[in-house]
């Protein structure tokens, strides 16, 4: 479960790989009467980018502006980077009346997934984060006693969600970092679709794609090699729908990737089995949640979980 993200790129070579040359691309796109527009920026502690293709550049620009705004709205509700976000307020005060839409959706999903996975996925691991990051800054690991002590504050049943309010038991803190980027991809894609954009590629840290490039070639998604920085291990092409990757190499606390930002809520330590998991799914929220759950569950139980969700597929890389 990603407690807080300052991610390096999980996935590389996203949308540009198929394009042989800009000029050729433009010519083919023009032949189809389409143009492409894109935006880039920073959100969720990483770089994001949106690309949309269509016949009218003004429509595209307007759609992209709305896409960015939609993503910012998600950030405002569920970012732990922002002390003023609804989620930060919930963690500070233990209670949030009239939870806003995005937060409520993500939290409901997270709690359901927690139940489905028997607590392997858990949105309440947040208290483990400062413990581990402080220990890692000193070059060590937290002591067992401290981890145990911290685990007493972890447990998804300690969150009570109703349409009126979210109430946390004392000491409980929620993170939605495991699902927020995937969910943001959904929200952005919806915003683009609402403007009639049929061809789009969304990178919010997790990925979503619809249609094709402006020149008609399929979107391709390169999956990063978890052990060789900057190398592409596999390519999904054509890529449509949503994909999310969880790995031990982003935000690793130790050089051997043993300790990282995903915690097993049962032990308070990072799960041992997998180096990275990529899940493709009909929504970003599902893809993101499942990928994190698979990291904790391991190869076999992870596959079984994903198999229970129609339209989803999983690729795993085991630790060497």
């Amino acid at each position: 479960m990603s407690a807080r993200l300052t991610r390096r790129r999980a996935v590389l070579g996203a949308c540009g790989l198929a394009v042989a040359g800009i000029a050729g691309f433009r010519a083919r796109a023009a032949a189809r009467g389409l143009v492409a527009r894109s935006r880039a920026g920073l959100a969720f502690g990483t770089t994001i980018s949106l690309t949309a293709a269509g016949p009218d550049p003004d429509v595209l620009e307007a759609a992209l502006t709305e896409g960015v705004a939609a993503m910012r709205a998600v950030e405002h509700e569920a970012s732990l980077f922002r002390p003023d976000s609804a989620l930060s307020r919930l963690n500070r005060e233990g209670r949030l009346d009239a939870p806003p839409k995005h937060l409520a959706t993500m939290l409901a999903f997270a709690l359901t997934l927690a139940e489905t996975t028997g607590g392997a996925f858990d949105p309440t691991v947040q208290p483990l984060w400062p413990l581990w990051s402080r220990a890692a800054e000193g070059g060590g690991r937290p002591d067992l006693q401290a981890v145990r002590h911290c685990l007493a504050r972890v447990g998804w049943r300690r969150v009570n969600l109703s349409p009126e309010a979210v109430v946390l038991e004392p000491g409980t803190e929620v993170t939605l970092n495991a699902v927020v980027q995937g969910y943001a991809a959904d929200v952005v894609m919806d915003a683009l679709r609402a403007r009639g954009v049929a061809d789009a590629f969304v990178d919010t840290g997790e990925f979503g794609a619809a249609g094709t490039h402006a020149d008609g070639s399929p979107w391709r998604l390169g999956l990063a090699d978890p052990r060789r920085k900057g190398e592409v291990a596999a390519v999904i092409a054509p890529f449509t729908g949503f994909a999310a990757t969880s790995g031990d190499y982003n935000m690793a606390f130790s050089a051997d990737f043993r300790d990282h930002h995903i915690f097993d809520p049962a032990t308070g330590f990072s799960p041992r089995g997998l180096a990275s998991v990529t899940v493709t799914a009909p929504t970003g929220l599902l893809a993101d949640g499942l990928s994190t759950a698979c990291m904790v569950l391991g190869r076999e139980r992870g596959r079984a979980l994903v198999a229970g969700h129609p339209g989803c597929a999983v690729r795993v890389t085991e630790k060497a």
């Binding site: 996935v11 920026g41 959100a43 070059g139």
Partner: protein, 709 residues
């Protein structure tokens, strides 16, 4: 001065009008660039990202294999640090800060600095800000004197100043640093906290230890790489295998030691070489030794053929907290002879880390060796892998010196010592001359010569050399500081002016405004010298009708009130209004300014051929301010006689300032202390009552009388 009720209403109306104008002109500073504007400064292949929604910062991104990485954060200084410039309007700079805190770009978007706009042109300013590119915001940067870098100031923490533009460059520097630190705090995770921190090894803490013991304690660290390790790191790149040999062969074996810690350096170098090194290093700086005991001819050797003596090594970096620290080879004792017994043979370097680099030796630091391999024959591609070793020295080896409060105003005081001495000498000469009224002042022949000479020095030395023309702008700055910035430190950066202000305040309380206005104001002196030319030119001074004269005298108070009101309201019009003072044109910029300003200043000077010191008497807001403050004056020190006024009107008629009332009393608010009347009163041949008394063989004594209130 008395103001009638009717007139007061007029004043109020004028004030209100000024306030309205000020409100209309005033607007909060805000950045001016939109996305397209930013994109013009960061053209493709750079991409301007979505503007941050919490801070007015634009991420500038660089596309990297399908995704983006942050190239820099671009922002306008005025959004974070609207520090008023010389004229009161904050300069606006476009700054791009790299994620590691390095300035990628600094550009002037707009500024109202008169010294550049009207005098030097903007080119020197553009060149000035370019100096910041590649400097790091993680350390304090000072504006040195012109050519400071060339004469030995640290190029990482000093930029060359511009002569005549000290105040403006200081504002620009503060704008750049303050806004960069604000953005760094918000975006990069560092702020002002560590700036100026100095951590030095305790000089007397020494324990004799062998290299093995030092390594065992972690004081000296080692990075040993075998061929197998390097091969593994390059796996999948197509250049795994390089060179021949067994996988377990050591290809690189680095020993890392922070030499300025005596227990490390003295043990490794021996006492003599250690002392020599410390002398060369200088206090506050650090020296990291890296020795490679691996095969010297291996391609992996970072100190091999590619190593350039005295340079920042390409394949060795020292970093701390994820940031590379500038570490340069010292090029000392390079020929393998420098190290003490017990150290393995091999190439070595001693890297110097400047005190200003913000390096904290008591915190963990990392030495990274970069191994580079080339793929392909013709269009070869470089593939690099990094190997690092961290050194973490015990904190009790070091003294943490409290952050230096970078008091860069002390430098301006030190640099101006000769000027201050000259100024002090002038004042030390002037005061007794004015105080001893039967001395030089009474000498009708020599005193005018003294006065002319003194005024010439005031123009040349106080004005042009010391640049100590006091100005209403300082008072406006005080108002701004009092109401808004609460930072009065700006006064400290101009020592000659501050000294002169101090003197003026004292003389104001004792003698009135005239000491400054008549003797120490360079523009005033310049006017008097021009007026002196009237006689040889056979020009006759016009006599302003008394009623008009009285009315005109009040204009300066209106000007003063308007200026202070505009300043208090933070109106940008204040700066334009301050141009009523020609001092900047005449003295600061020595008439190197656009023609309307020059015409105005020259016109005011020429006016003296007809109307004596018209500017001083009618317009000068500084004079008005001093006259108002001069009401605190405690001495009525200009001597008078009972006969002054009734019946004698000689002094009144001769007073070129109209500062003697009909009844003979001195109007100290208008008196410039030219001493003409004092000379007269002590001259038995001129002073009418004395002439009369001598005729009657009587002795009369002059005495001060109550002044005009």
């Amino acid at each position: 001065m008395r103001v009638s009720g009717v007139r007061r209403t007029g004043w109020m109306a004028m004030l209100v009008a000024i306030l309205v104008v000020a409100r209309l002109c005033g607007s909060a500073s805000a950045g001016e660039l939109d996305r397209a504007g930013i994109a013009r400064h960061f053209p493709p292949p750079l991409v301007v990202g979505e503007k941050d929604d919490t801070l007015p910062v634009w991420p500038i991104l660089k596309q990297q294999a399908g995704s983006y990485e942050v190239f820099a954060y671009a922002f306008e200084s005025v959004d974070f640090a609207p520090i008023p410039g010389f004229g009161g309007t904050p300069p606006d700079l476009l700054i791009a800060l790299a994620p590691d805190g390095t300035f990628r770009d600094v550009t002037v978007l707009s500024h109202k600095e008169p010294v550049f706009l009207e005098g030097l042109g903007s080119e020197p300013l553009f060149a000035f800000v370019e100096q910041y590119v590649c400097l790091s915001a993680r350390q304090p940067i000072r504006v040195g004197r012109p050519n400071a870098r060339g004469s030995g100031a640290s190029p990482q923490s000093t930029v060359d100043g511009i002569a005549m533009a000290t105040a403006s460059t200081r504002t620009i520097n503060q704008s750049i640093l303050a806004s960069a630190l604000a953005v760094a705090r918000g975006k990069l995770g560092f702020g002002a906290a560590n700036v100026g921190l100095s951590v030095e090894a305790k000089p007397n803490l020494f324990e004799p230890l062998t290299l093995d013991a030092l390594q065992a304690r972690g004081l000296v660290t080692r990075l040993t790489l075998t061929r197998a390790q390097v091969t593994k790191a390059f796996r999948g790149t197509g250049v795994e295998e390089a060179g021949e040999g067994a996988p377990e062969d050591v290809v690189s074996d680095l020993t890392v030691a922070l030499l300025d810690v005596p227990t490390i350096g003295r043990n490794l170098l021996g006492p003599a070489r250690f002392e020599a090194l410390m002398r060369e290093l200088g206090p506050g700086n650090h020296a990291v030794m890296v020795l490679n005991a691996g095969p010297a001819d291996a391609a992996e050797n970072p100190l091999g053929e590619t190593f350039v003596l005295g340079a920042v090594p390409e394949r060795l970096t020292v970093s701390q907290g994820g940031l590379v620290v500038n570490a340069r080879d010292m090029a000392v004792e390079r020929r393998g002879a420098g190290l003490n017994r017990g150290l393995p043979a091999g190439d070595w370097t001693i890297l110097r880390i400047d005190a200003a680099a913000g390096f904290d030796p008591s915190a963990p630091f990392t030495v990274t060796e970069k191994i580079v391999r080339e793929r392909g024959q013709i269009l070869s591609e470089k593939i690099a892998r990094d190997f690092s070793v961290e050194t973490k020295l015990p904190a009790d080896l070091f003294l943490r010196v409290a952050a230096q409060e970078g008091p860069d105003w002390t430098e301006s005081w030190r640099a101006r010592v000769p000027t201050l001495v000259g100024l002090g000498a002038m004042l030390a000469l002037l005061v007794p001359v004015l105080a001893r009224q039967k001395g030089l002042v009474a000498d009708a022949r020599r005193f005018p010569a003294f006065r002319l000479a003194f005024l010439a020095v005031t123009v040349g030395f106080v004005g042009y050399t010391a640049q100590a023309q006091l100005s209403i702008v300082t008072l406006m700055g005080l108002v701004r500081a009092a109401l808004r910035t609460h930072d009065f430190a700006f006064l400290l950066y101009d020592p000659p002016s501050l000294v002169l202000w101090a003197f003026v305040l004292v003389s104001l309380v004792l003698w009135g405004r005239g000491t400054f206005c008549g003797w120490l104001c360079p523009f005033g002196a310049m006017q008097e010298l021009v007026a002196w030319l009237a006689r040889p030119l056979r020009l006759r001074q016009l006599t302003v009708p008394p009623r008009l004269d009285r009315a005109l005298r009040k204009v300066k108070y209106v000007v003063l009130a308007g200026l202070l009101a505009a300043t208090a309201l933070n109106s940008p019009a204040a700066d334009a209004m301050a141009e009523v003072e020609p001092f900047k044109t005449a003295i600061t910029l020595s008439f190197l300014r656009s023609w309307p300003f020059v015409a105005y200043a020259v016109g005011l000077l020429a006016l003296n051929l007809f109307v004596y010191k018209g500017f001083c008497r009618y317009l000068c807001p500084l004079g008005a301010a001093l006259a108002v403050a001069g009401r605190l004056r405690i001495l009525d020190w200009i001597p008078r006689r009972a006969e002054c006024g009734t019946p004698c009107q000689l002094c009144k008629v001769r007073c070129r300032y109209g500062a003697i009332a009909q009844d003979g009393r001195i109007d100290y608010h208008e008196c410039f202390q030219c001493m003409d009347c004092v000379t007269i009163i002590h001259d038995p041949g001129q002073c009418v009552p004395q002439v009369v008394a001598r005729r009657h063989a009587k002795r009369i004594v002059p005495r001060p009388v109550v002044a005009v209130r």
